[in-house]
Assembly symmetry: C2
Homo-oligomer: 187 residues x 2
DNA sequence: GGTGCCATGTAACGCGTTACATGATTAT
DNA sequence: ATAATCATGTAACGCGTTACATGGCACC
């Protein structure tokens, strides 16, 4: 799910110290996942607390080298074997925003859709441009960009679909309670 | 981003007490975002602390009714106006997993791809089945399912793309350090 | 002497999340 | 009586994240 698993995978490749883990993590994920060095040490501490990692040696330069425990190795194997699952209740900001707007009737859902579409389209253009500017040998970064591009395209398709379905919707009955002194929030 | 914004939007529709917020939140998002009642109160407390929400009245039944403050209303307007942005460093478990596997060379990336594809395909089938079983008038739930479907399809396309590009990759030189006593983790 | 990189760490905060405690009212 | 629903709340944990402190070493 997060940094934990990342560090564990890197440690499966052999014992390493924190600073090196940070380096490899960035080498592996590049700009796709910037990592504050502090996080490596906090995470390493938590992994040790949970018995997934233990101190291997303190090497000649005084660096603390960690290695996986048996439990740690099992965890790595599990994580790599187990697919990322598509939970029905996957938190998604965009759909949440739309469903809530739809329900609360406090802003025009179509305005939300339009705003989002504009933003996603420019994002998509930027991604394509970035892809062209990328060194063709930088496979990880290219793959990551493709992932973002496909996601963005899927989002655009969904926005179209939402717009199509939206007019079919019956208007919710007017609010029963006191009308709040809320000016229409439509952008 | 989270529950905070959800509650704020609902409160933009008029002052409400916690329990009612929980009800409306579930009504709006359905199974798409189950909400523990405790979260409503903790979140409400934090919103009050941050001056986005304040106590309106304690009604006849002794329920504490909250309303938006001026800052709260501004925050709602902002959130609804501002598109969900596509950060280049958006955390994505699947791509992270793949990039790290690619780098660490501790498992076969193709195995990861295959596992994921199988899982995503069955998930997709389940989603289509669910969609057919859904009441055609339940617009929010249908929209949410469509979002998940489009996401899953995008993921499958990406997996194909990864598989195509993967063989082009030159093998990393063999590990320099001591080979860890790690059995190949390939599922 | 100063700049910058290598290297380790801690204190603190924020949000999401759960588990638990408490009590009133309503329905069976 | 007692089970369910309405209603509020708190304590605690986990992870991600940042800001800060510290020190060695190399290079100019």
């Amino acid at each position: 799910m997060g940094i934990r698993e990342g560090l564990l995978v890197l440690l499966a490749d052999g014992p390493k110290h924190g600073y090196r883990l940070k380096g490899e993590f960035e080498e592996a994920t590049g700009q796709a996942w910037p990592l504050n060095i502090g996080q490596v040490y906090t995470t390493l501490g938590r992994l040790e607390r949970d018995g997934l990692v233990e101190l291997d040696t303190t090497d000649s330069e005084g660096r603390k080298v960690y290695r996986l425990t048996k439990a740690g190795r099992a965890e790595v194997r599990d994580w790599l074997t187990r697919p990322v699952d598509h939970r029905l209740d996957a938190r998604d900001e965009l759909s949440m925003k739309l469903l809530l707007t739809l329900f609360a009737g406090v802003a025009d859902p179509l305005a939300v859709v339009d705003t989002q579409r504009a933003a996603t389209m420019t994002a998509l253009q930027d991604l394509h441009r970035l892809k062209q500017e990328t060194d063709p040998d930088d496979l990880p970064w290219l793959l990551h960009l493709d992932r973002l591009i496909l996601r963005a395209e899927a989002e655009l398709r969904w926005l179209d679909l939402v717009e199509d379905r939206l007019p079919e919707r019956r208007r919710r009955p007017a609010a029963v309670h006191e009308p709040a002194e809320t000016e229409e929030v439509t952008g």
